[in-house]
């Protein structure tokens, strides 16, 4: 395919081979195609020169395993098939592949599935006993489904076995460790740690003008950090519509991801935790441990949803349809004063356009533990329980993605070897610090002193702003070590319960039903789901998953 140049065309015009109109048309075509063609040629050239490397060398995780030879190869001839959501968290698995294969003689096949198809595909495999997958990365709420179905191998025996790379269960902060275990046994190998923290713009909160104006409006000093949701609502009211956005655009008080099916129920869980959970009620949130009656219509829950609906009016209306990216992008582009979400945002805030990201808020993003309340509704006592200090509850809402080994695995030990390799300290530390692979910090060596044994330099080396990194790691350390934790539901059908909550929550947010009606409707769906699975079975699972007597 040769492109005639303008010059050749011109000669054709002069010599009468082309009419004027043809000339203009062809010239225009060249005008459009030439840059476009050049553009793609450039793409092809660049591809030939530098094949994109998935992990930049400067943040690559160090090698841990030593290559084997001959009989030293533990799993020679075996193949491990590893199922993982097609997410950033797949990066370490690909990264570790060569090292694993060299160290054991086994082969590692990685199967990527869309996030929403991973569990269905895994469950289809194990429920029918096929065994096509040896290991899979799962979200923590799948664990109940899989353990209750008797589909997984407990890894406790392998933990001390020195044939495998060594990693310590104790290095995982308690809240996350609980998620890896079920009914006294350990099923997950340490990997990702999820929880929602509270993010806000350090620069806005320390701005004297805003401080003065806020005090005039709210009657008290702008709290930095805010410690109760009441304060957050006041602050959101103050900042909403103020021209703090880029180029003096009007900004929003808060941003959230509230679309149905996009994990908006996690927002409610995090938000409502301190309205229900407190020192005298550390665990009852979802169901009564006597008969599985839903508790989500308690006065505490109702107060929480009313607050959340009020808060949702202080952000862009569009967020009713937002998933994580849209909401994060909004914060990253400097248009929101506050948000609460997962650790990814802290890492993404460091990805400035020069680094290929979209963040305009590097160095301005302060992370703290999510705020609390001054009073919660104690379900056990059936009464409001005021607290002297803010009642702040930690959470592990989210996936906390981690690998498990299938009971039908063809090469279970080799599969465990890969997972253990990724869980070793040098590797896990590198994953958490670089952030872009979505493995969020949750182990003692991820946190700088005095919280843990890590160091802030790892983060700075990976491109973090030092203050941002300090606040961030401290916020997550607090969140995961808080003695009060949001009770994480992990029984069969969890996703169905959650989606019922999610759907009705969205109805309340978009004014299709009142907040109270939404919770009532969700509770009534909870009952239907429980009935269908069998109340006794569900009650058993519920007790087992929380370790009730």
């Amino acid at each position: 395919m040769s492109q005639p140049t303008i010059h050749e065309l011109y000669r054709a015009l002069v010599s009468g081979q082309l009419s004027r109109r043809q000339f203009i048309a062809k010239a225009a075509a060249i005008g459009i195609t030439a840059p476009a063609l050049g553009f793609f040629l450039k793409a092809a050239e660049a591809r030939a020169q530098d094949e994109p490397t998935p992990v930049p060398a400067d943040v690559a995780a160090p090698a841990v395993a030593t290559p084997c030879e001959g009989d030293g190869c533990l799993f020679a001839g075996q193949t491990v098939t590893f199922l993982t959501p097609n997410e950033t968290i797949q990066v370490p698995i690909f990264e570790v592949r060569d090292e694993f294969e060299a160290a054991t003689g086994a082969k590692l096949d990685i199967v990527l599935a869309a996030m929403n198809d991973t569990l269905p595909n895994l469950l289809q495999d194990v429920a029918n006993g096929t065994g096509a997958y040896d290991a899979s990365i799962i979200g923590a709420w799948w664990l109940g489904e899989l353990v209750e179905g008797d589909y997984l191998i407990a890894i406790d025996d392998w933990l001390a076995d020195d044939r495998f790379p060594q990693w310590s269960l104790d290095s995982v902060l308690p809240a996350i460790r609980n998620l890896m275990q079920y009914d006294g046994k350990t099923y997950e190998i340490a990997y990702d740690s999820d929880g929602q923290a509270f993010y806000y713009r350090r620069d806005l909160f320390t701005d004297p003008d805003h401080q003065t104006a806020f005090k005039a409006e709210a009657g008290y000093d702008l709290p930095d950090p805010p410690t109760t949701w009441d304060q957050v609502i006041d602050i959101a009211k103050y900042f909403n519509g103020k021209p703090f956005g880029p180029d003096g655009e009007a900004g929003s008080g808060i941003t959230m991801h509230l679309a149905v099916g996009q994990q908006a129920m996690f927002h409610f869980m995090t938000f409502s935790a301190p309205f229900v959970i407190g020192p005298d009620n550390p665990q009852l949130y979802w169901f009564s441990p006597d008969d599985m009656t839903p508790l989500i219509t308690s006065p505490g829950h109702v107060q929480a949803i009313n607050y959340l609906v009020e808060l949702s009016k202080l952000g862009p209306e569009a967020m009713m349809a937002w998933g994580l990216t849209e909401s994060w992008d909004y914060f990253l582009s400097g248009k929101a004063a506050m948000t609460f979400t997962w650790g990814d945002l802290g890492a993404l805030a460091q990805e400035t356009p020069e680094r290929g990201g979209k963040s305009l808020v590097k160095g301005m993003t302060k992370t703290v533990q999510c705020p609390g309340t001054m009073s919660y509704y104690n379900i056990v006592a059936g009464a409001d329980a005021p607290t002297d200090a803010p009642n702040i509850v930690g959470n592990t809402t989210g996936g906390s993605w981690a690998p498990v080994i299938s009971k039908f695995a063809k090469s279970p030990e080799a599969a465990y070897y890969v997972c253990a390799l990724m869980a070793t300290e040098p590797k896990a530390k590198a994953y958490a610090a670089r952030g872009f692979d979505g493995v969020d910090p949750g182990r003692t060596f991820d946190f700088p002193p005095p919280d843990g044994t890590g160091n802030i330099e790892d983060y700075v080396k990976a491109g973090w702003d030092e203050q941002d990194a300090k606040d961030y790691t401290n916020a997550y350390f607090q969140t995961f070590s808080n003695p009060l934790q949001f009770p994480y539901l992990r029984i069969p059908g969890t996703f169905e319960y959650w989606l019922a909550l999610d759907t009705h929550l969205s109805e309340a947010m978009t004014g299709q039903s009142s907040p109270e009606d939404a919770l009532n409707a969700a509770a009534s769906e909870f009952e239907d789901i429980t009935e269908r699975f069998g109340r006794d079975l569900q009650l058993d699972s519920y007790k087992r998953s929380f370790g009730f007597e």
């Binding site: 429920a127 209750e148 009713m320 989606l499 299709q512």
Partner: protein, 314 residues
Amino acid sequence: MSETTAPDSIGSTLGAPNTARASRKRDRTRWYFIGPAIIWILLFTLFPLLYAIRTSFYAFRSGKMLRWVGFDNYRNLWEDEALRSDLQRTIVYVTVVVVVEMVLGFLLALLFNRQMRGVSSLRTIMVLPLFASPIALGYLGKTIFYEIDGPVNRAIEALGGNGIPWLSDPTWAFVAIMIVDIWQWTPFVFLVSLAGLQALPQDITEAAEVDGASALQRLFSITLPLMAPILWLILLLRTIDAFKVVDIVISMTLGGPGRATELYGFYVFRTARRFFNYGSAAAQGYLLLVIVMILVSLLWGRIRNLYEHDVEAR
């Protein structure tokens, strides 16, 4: 109608049973033609159909059959308010998109049924939406209908209007997914109708024009009756497929906000693939089968006269 039926009635002697032997032979021959397709379909759908029926009598837990529940899954269909509202919503959806697609597609076909240079390129372009993956379209829809700075809202604002809450407002979100469906399938109606129009005998319309019939008269008394068999066919195919829309919802709204865009096909999909409640999903699937087949039979009753006269006439 006499113009179209005339050639067919002449053909009615074809394969006529002259003798009993010929009749038996014809008996066998006809099954040679239709047999392979029937056997093929039975081979591939009989087991799944029976399996799904069995499934529909069980409760599931963790992806495994838990226990026999008799007709509970079917009984639950009547008590499931979400399902009922989804079904109503789906009927609205199907009615609106199919009607709009039929009307738009046919009108455009009428408009462009002329000798013009642009028209042939239009036909070429109109083939493209049929091949766009609905999953991808849903994702694309999210950017196109993006409320802050999205292209649609920017265009509206440039024309002096206010941005529309395309995805965050229950009603508009419903409109948005319908627009995507209409974008993808109007070309189908357009292409089929245009081809049908171009195949109409020119002399009839021209004769009518000479007789002084107005454009509207020609449309209603000549074009529409002649086009009826094709239009009914399109209507039938589109209706069946519109009832099953899943992919656009999966990728664009996941049924939200609230349940505003939760269509029946998506509901069944989610029951099976997200909740692993295969029993209820099977029952829901059969309910859809019954409803759509009733509709198809009603439509078919109308079409039969237009469509089967030659076979019946024999």
